[in-house]
Symmetry: D2
């Protein structure tokens, strides 16, 4: 088998370099957020970029034990006390298109919308209106807008404010705000959710859409590890049993005939 190739890490006896930087330099003078940025972008962030990525990771670290990712991690920790990594992995596996995945989808929309505005010589507002109209006709949701719990997600304004202060806010922030306005005008008020805010900032920071999900996972694992630790220390194994209502076939014999309930005798 040929060696696999990589541009990420080079380690040999006594030396570990991440994209060329000595890991001990990063440990002493850099930070974990620098390292995340470096791994994904092949360069170190500016102080403003670092600050925004840091805030993004904080914003998705944990949203409560009842979210699918945390609940699945706890279920696995409840049934399988043998392996922390099994419980964390179960939590991560709930993350996809529907949970933690809207960020990546919204980043695709932003990229397409910004491109459409440029190509057709229209404003971002007009591009956002077109997009919302098409989504509405297709009866599809607009990823990045709306939330099950929050009528206004407090993290959104903070991220946008930080992006503006850092002079990082660009087309991403503008387009997501335009989406919110277009949805409000033609559908109903659908406030920007954390996925939408994260997508706007990551776009303006220059990350590709895939980062919308990958960086969500980096942040969420912080919460998952704590959820699992709490499950181990506070709860007894197998405490969880989800209540279920059966609504399928009534009792039947193997030949398909109904089971005759024996008459009760007195």
């Amino acid at each position: 088998m040929d060696p696999w190739r990589t541009a990420l890490v080079n380690s040999s006896d006594g030396s570990i370099r991440i994209r060329g930087y000595d890991v001990t330099d990063l440990m002493r003078q850099g930070s974990f957020v620098d390292t995340v940025f470096l791994l994904h972008r092949a360069r170190l962030p500016t102080p403003d970029e670092r600050r925004l990525l840091d805030a993004i990771l904080v914003s998705v670290a944990d949203h409560g034990s009842g979210a699918p990712s945390c609940a699945a991690a706890r279920l696995a920790a409840s049934g399988n006390r043998q392996s922390f990594s099994a419980a964390i992995a179960a939590g991560i596996l709930t993350i996809g298109e529907e949970h933690g995945g809207a960020g990546a989808q919204c980043m695709e929309l932003i990229a397409a919308g910004v491109e459409e505005a440029r190509t057709d010589g229209i404003t971002l507002d007009e591009a956002a209106r077109r997009l919302v109209r098409r989504r509405r006709q297709a009866r599809a949701r607009v990823p990045g807008l709306g939330h099950r719990v929050h009528s206004t997600d407090p993290r959104v304004a903070v991220l946008f404010g930080m992006a503006r202060d850092a002079k990082v806010a660009g087309d991403g922030v503008a387009f997501v705000l335009a989406l919110e306005e277009a949805a409000r005008a033609s559908i109903k008020p659908l406030p920007i959710n954390i996925d939408g805010a994260l997508a706007a900032l990551l776009h303006d920071l220059g990350f590709p859409p895939a980062a919308g999900m990958l960086l969500f996972i980096v942040g969420r694992v912080a919460g998952l590890t704590a959820e699992v630790a709490e499950e181990y220390t506070r709860e007894r194994p197998m405490r969880i049993r989800i209540p279920v209502q059966y609504d399928g076939e009534p009792p039947r014999e193997l030949d398909g005939t109904p089971v005759k309930t024996p008459e009760l005798q007195d």
Copy 2:
């Protein structure tokens, strides 16, 4: 890298052999249960062995959507509509010492008990009484006895009856029955559960303890695939949110002082 070595499967252009047998022979004249037995035991089963392993796999296929394995698979299917395998894997990850793992532990007990009886020249009944006494002193449960739902698990008598009819029942079945009797006499009635029955039969069929968990997984995956398929077809994504009660620190500022709730004005 040196090639990995294996005694399981040899495949080359036009040929796939499992432990020496042509896979097409197994497809035409053998069965899936034969193949499971063959993969784990390096020989084909007798008809009686096949019948018992078949019944064991049926017995653990599914016990309801509320069990940790099924619930975690559904949670993952609910949040991540991108990948069936992610949902099945999340379900499997709940399986361990506490869920689906008692079979392997009980097989260890059986092996130790049978060995102790032989070495010390005592009966299996006496060996079982010793074991229950030691467990009781250590305040440890006896794996294979007791169930959260069933006062009598209907699968146990059926498996033991089939093992007797097939003349396979041996030390494993005898020892687990002796455990149940010893627990009843010195602790309380703790009926044999499916893990205990599965352990007894797998011991008598000559499987090593690890098979107690591995074959549970083979059977349970049948149920997990159906649970996931039902979640996709009957339920909308993200329908599940577990209710949570927070009982931690009250609201505080970053400097640790309590948050002053703004007085309500009228």
Copy 3:
């Protein structure tokens, strides 16, 4: 939280019913393959249906330790000796669009092709030719055709022969054969692979496309459990290290300047 609903399993004290059937009836008079069919199709199979599903599960049980699913399971078993389920889950997670997923995709094609033939009043052969033409124009592969290892996959003819003998072969088998012929005529010889054969049979057995992946997983878990058991018993932990070739940035200081290699002194 409202109870979850399910039509799969109803269990209460002393009773477990799968789609209405008593699990002990299935254990005594049915089989694991019956149970798989029942869970997915809500009825028991005929003897011919059972036989074909049985052969399908055998056909995908294991194809060698080097396949991604088996290799990932072994890597996880090598690094994490704490949990069988973690290793099996790692193996399952490699299954998706590219590995074990072509069956489901091919079932979608078959369904679309059969529908197109019916709607447009054309033969299955013509529908297959159209489909291959469209794929070719889109530079897309035809799932179900071609294999990395086998020029002729020995499992295909066996499955098709069994389906014909059982009088189950229908549009699915016919359409996949037509695809192979259309590809041969307009692209190059691309023999039907196991995914294509599995897709043809599952279509003719009335399964939905999702079953193409779900049943692959049921079968493959048999092999994964044996691969993991072999890794635990034959190999020492952490034996596996994949050789890697670094081709990224050369050594650099945190300020971006190249690392000056200290001159060697003598």
Copy 4:
């Protein structure tokens, strides 16, 4: 079902608090490393504590694509192009006792050694010598010492130096150094590895042993996300096939007789 209880996160409409702190305060004035510390320790870190935890997370972020965690993530990404989370989870599942798990084990040793020194009124050096002696007699490794690649792991001295500068180095660092010396004297030079250094610092920072694995996972997920992103962008699906050497049963018929290889005719 009763609500689950948690002391980690409280979220309601318009408010998310992590252990009492408003998530938006943490985003604006705190950091991701603060949040990790807070989730696990229920308080914010001091600047020195933050700096050390930050360096620990950097130190384990990635050690090369050939490590089991990274290799399994790439294998899953190679086979299953449907889900990032599936690939990340596969990588995490390789983490356990043998890979990324020595930190937690070493923390158990440190806690036991420090306790033994206190109880028996002996020095940490003497406690370390006793421990190494017992391990040697049991032919067991000392977790935290020795490495497959590095004769001297460059990360260790850096972490210990930072801990000393921050006045955090205490019994943990002292005990691990004593272990290294005791091993050198009675076995052979076994330099402290990253797990041992991480264990020493986390002990001195007041973390429980479980954190040895949980925080390794938090750090490593940064690397896993980048490995998966690189696999998606640089490599074609299914590029990986591990070479395998079969050494099992020779070809045989279902009745067990050897397959007669047809004589070659000329």
